[in-house]
Amino acid sequence: MTLRLSARAGRAVLIATALLFVAFFLLLPLAAVFAQAFSRGASFYLDAIRQPDILSALRLTLLVAAIAVPFNLLFGIAASWAITRFDFIGKNLLITLIDVPLAVSPVVAGMMYVEVFGLHGWLGPWLSDHDLRVIYAVPGIVLATIFVTFPFVARELIPFMQAQGSDEEQAAAVLGAGGLSIFFRVTLPNIKWALLYGAILAASRAIGEFGAVSVVSGHIRGKTTTMPLEIEMLYNEYQFSAAFAAASLLSLAAVITLLIKKLLEMTSGLHGRTAQEDAES
C-alpha cells in the first residue's frame, strides 16, 4: 500500500520536474523570442523580415540545405548499404568515421576546411589559379554544412537496414531482378520512412548550423551569411527586434520540422515500433 502510494508520488514528482524543465528552459525562451520579435508590432516585424539582407540570408540557408540534404541522402544510402550488406576490410573504421562530425566541434570542422581550401591552405594556390573560391564563398558554406550533417541519414538507416536483413533483396535477386531493379522496387520502398526521417534531421541541422559555417563564411552581408549568421550579426549591431524577427523565422522552421518528424513517426510507425517487430507481426 505504502509502496504503491510512494510510487504514485514518485511518478508525480518526475512528471512535474520534466514539465517544469521543459517550460522553463524551452517554452519560455521560445515564447520570449516571438514576444521580442513582435515587440514593435506586426508591421515592424513584417518589414524586418523583408529586409533584403534577411531575405538573402534565408535564400542562402535554403540553398545550402537543398544541396547538403540530397548529398547526405546519397552518402547515407551508399554507406548503410555497404555496411549492412557487405563485409569488407575497414568496415568498422567506416562506422566509426561516420560519427566524427558528431564528436568534433563544428568550429574545428570549419577550420579544417579553411586549412584545406583557404587561400593559404593545401589546395588554396591551385584554386586561386583556376579562379575558384571555396572559403568565404558559398561552396565553403555548403561543404561545412555537408560535413556537420552527414551522419544523420546513415545513422538512421544502418540500424534499420540491419534489423530488416537482406532476405527480401536476395529473394528479388533469385527472381531475376538486377541491382537497380532491386534497389528501386525492394530496398527503397522498405527504407523510405527511415530515409525521410534522416533527411528531416539533416535538414534541420543544415538550416540551424552556426559554428562551422561561421568560420568559412566570411560574413559578407547579402552574399555569404546564412540565417544563423545574419541573426548573430543583427544582434551584435543592437538591432534586437530585427534579430529576434529573424530568429523567430528559424524557430518556426524548427517547429515545422518537428511537426513533420512527429507526423512521420505516426504514419510510418518508425521509432514507435522497431523493424524487428514489423518482421514478426
Partner: protein, 362 residues
C-alpha cells in the same frame, strides 16, 4: 532438370560448413536435405541456388556447369525460411515480381502476367487474398505466397529452406502433404532443407543426411530408416536403444563388415523400440535379458514401455501394439524378458563402421 553436386566444400573462417559433399538429384525428384543445425544443409541449398559460392567443387544443373553463375540466371525458384515476402507489396504483386523484372524481350504482357498470377493464386488456394499485404496473412498463407512467387517464373528447380519450420504442427502437416501434391502435379525437381526427420522421410523421394558438413547417407527414406549407415543416422532418425558390449566371438559368417573383428572387441548394438520383443515366458533367444517395467505410456496406437535392464546404464524403450499390450497385461513393476528381434552392430572404438546388419551376439 537434374542437379549434380560434385565435391562441394565451403568454409567460413575456420569453420567447415561443407566438406566434400557430392550427390545427384534426378530430374523430377523431391529430395530432402536433413540434418541438425550446423550440419551444412542450408549452406548446401544456398550453394545450389547460387546464393553462396563454394570454395571448391562444382554444381551442374541438367549437365550444365553453373558453379559460378549468378543465382538469377540459374532458373531456380527459392523459398526462404522466413518467406522473405516483399512487405510493401500486395500478395498479387509479390507473385508477379519475378515476371515483372524479366528482360523486356521475354517479359509477358500485363494481361499475361495477370493471368499467370491468377493461375498461381488458384494453385496455392489464395484467390481471395490477392489484394492483401503479407502482414495480414497467417504463417501458412505467407508460405504459400512464397511458393507461388517462386513458381511464377516456371523454375526448373525449386529449392526450399526449412519451409515449414516456423509453422505450428497441424499447419505443418497439411502444408507438407500439399507440397507433395503440388510437386507431383508440376514435376519440378525439388530440394528442401529440414531438421525434422519425420518430415523428410514422409515427403521426400530421397533423403540426404548431413552431419558436420559431410554427407552421412543418401537414399530412399525406407532404405535409410531400415539400414542406417552410421550411428549418427541411427540416432537422428528417431528413437533407438543402445547396447554396449563386447563381441563374444569373431564375426565371420553373415557379417557385412569388410574387416574381421576379434572376439572381445567392443561394439554398440542399435535396436529401435519396435524391434524389441517382450514376453513373460523365457524365450528361445539367447540374447534375452530380464527387465523391469518402469513406466508405461499407453496413448496412441503403440504402447511405449520404459524398461530398466540390469547392467545397461540407461533405460530401454520398447514399443508394442495394443493387442500385445492387452495379452501381456503389463503394469509398472512387472519383470519381463526382453530381446532384440533385429539389431545393427557398430564398431565401438569410435570408427563407427557397420559390423553387422541383423542379429548378432553381444
Amino acid at each position: 532438370m537434374s542437379i549434380q553436386v560434385d565435391g562441394i566444400s565451403k568454409s567460413y573462417g575456420s569453420f567447415a560448413a561443407l566438406d566434400n559433399v557430392s550427390l545427384t538429384v534426378e530430374s523430377g525428384q523431391l529430395v530432402a536435405l536433413l540434418g541438425p543445425s550446423g550440419s551444412g544443409k542450408t549452406t548446401l541449398l544456398r550453394v545450389i541456388a547460387g546464393l553462396e559460392e563454394p570454395d571448391s567443387g562444382s554444381i551442374q544443373l541438367h549437365g550444365e556447369e553453373t558453379t559460378h553463375e549468378l543465382a538469377a540466371s540459374r532458373g531456380i525458384g527459392f523459398v526462404f525460411q522466413h518467406y522473405a515476402l516483399f512487405r510493401h507489396m500486395s500478395v498479387f504483386e509479390n507473385i508477379a515480381f519475378g515476371l515483372r523484372v524479366q528482360p523486356r524481350k521475354i517479359r509477358l504482357s500485363r494481361k499475361e502476367i495477370r493471368e499467370r498470377v491468377e493461375e498461381l493464386l488458384k494453385l496455392v488456394q489464395l484467390e481471395s487474398y490477392a489484394r492483401m499485404h503479407p502482414d495480414q496473412l497467417s504463417g501458412g498463407q505467407r508460405q504459400r505466397v512464397a511458393l507461388a512467387r517462386a513458381l511464377a517464373v516456371r523454375p526448373k528447380v525449386l529449392l526450399l529452406d526449412e519451409p515449414f519450420s516456423a509453422l505450428d504442427a497441424k499447419v505443418r502437416k497439411d502444408l507438407r502433404d500439399w507440397l507433395r501434391r503440388i510437386h507431383d502435379e508440376l514435376h519440378v525437381t525439388t530440394v528442401l532443407v529440414t531438421h525434422d526427420q519425420e518430415e523428410a522421410l514422409e515427403v521426400a523421394d530421397r533423403v540426404a543426411i548431413l552431419n558436420q558438413g559431410a554427407l552421412e547417407q543418401f537414399g530412399a527414406p525406407q532404405a535409410i530408416y531400415d539400414h542406417p549407415a552410421s550411428p549418427f543416422v541411427y540416432n537422428f532418425l528417431g528413437n533407438v536403444n543402445l547396447f554396449h558390449g563386447r563381441l563374444l566371438s569373431a564375426l565371420s559368417e553373415g557379417s557385412h563388415s569388410e574387416a574381421e573383428r576379434p572376439a572381445n572387441h567392443t561394439a554398440v548394438g542399435f535396436v529401435r523400440p519396435h524391434e524389441l520383443a517382450v514376453s513373460r515366458e523365457m524365450p528361445g533367444d539367447s540374447r534375452a535379458v530380464v527387465a523391469s517395467v518402469e513406466r508405461i505410456q499407453a496413448t496412441g496406437p503403440l504402447i511405449r514401455l520404459e524398461l530398466s535392464v540390469a547392467g545397461n546404464g540407461r533405460p530401454v524403450t520398447a514399443e508394442i501394439d495394443r493387442k500385445r499390450y492387452e495379452e501381456l497385461a503389463v503394469v509398472p513393476g512387472d519383470k519381463l524378458f526382453v530381446w532384440p528381434e533385429s539389431m545393427r552392430l557398430f564398431d565401438g572404438d569410435g570408427a563407427s563402421s557397420l559390423l553387422l546388419d541383423e542379429g548378432a551376439g553381444i
